[in-house]
Symmetry: C2
């Protein structure tokens, strides 16, 4: 597996993780948000959807994604900073729902950081001690 | 190094990383925010301060902390969600200032996740390919 594929999509969808997907039908996570693709949902509200990663790296490994399509952390900061509170709460709601007191949040921006789906997603990992360095 | 010490404080301050520090003089990062302790600052604005980790795990390894004392991700989500936009922007500003196009953001909640300073801080790592799993 190349470094570009470290951060696996949540469902098997070879074409959707090919890089610079726009919103809508070309974006894997937009299709999960819309319900077109199924996923193992653990939480949703007006702003975010959370579902289990299909290649979990911890006993609990969930992705929290905004319903609105934003590419990555910097894109969100520049064009949709108002999503910040909902992202904070979405992760905390997942932790509460799954009984996680100790958890790591990871967000990859760019291929060299491990991003493969270009719709912002926050990894929430827990259920085991997390190691350092973080990848 | 025990798992509790994975996430090192930004300066040598043995008493400040002992767990459940409140805000103010007992909190290492509050003391950096106030200027009482020095750090290698790379960015600051009205809401956040960013400085280099003293035990970097990548060529670039910066901590972004809110000036306001909040314990961790869940505490922020519950009691200060309005910090969300500033945290998004603070990280993006650091990435811009340091020329990082590819970077990983990591936030540890709780000792078993690697948190050792109980003032929310977002690790920003870049300058090398990041591996998977993230710790």
């Amino acid at each position: 597996m190349s470094e570009h594929d470290q951060d696996q999509p949540a469902t098997e969808e070879p074409d959707a993780a090919s890089g610079d997907a726009a919103s809508g039908e070309d974006c894997l996570f937009c299709r999960i948000v819309s319900g077109e693709l199924s996923a193992d949902l653990v939480h949703q509200d007006d702003d975010v959807v959370a579902f289990r990663d299909i290649q979990p790296k911890a006993p609990t490994h969930v992705l929290v994604v905004p319903r609105r399509h934003v590419r990555d952390w910097s894109d969100t900061a520049r064009h949709a900073p108002e999503l910040g509170p909902a992202l904070l709460r979405g992760v905390a709601d997942v932790a509460d729902a799954l009984g996680l007191e100790h958890y790591r949040v990871v967000a990859n921006t760019g291929e060299k950081a491990g991003q493969s789906v270009f719709h912002l997603h926050l990894h929430v990992l827990g259920g085991r001690p997390m190691l350092w360095p973080p990848g």
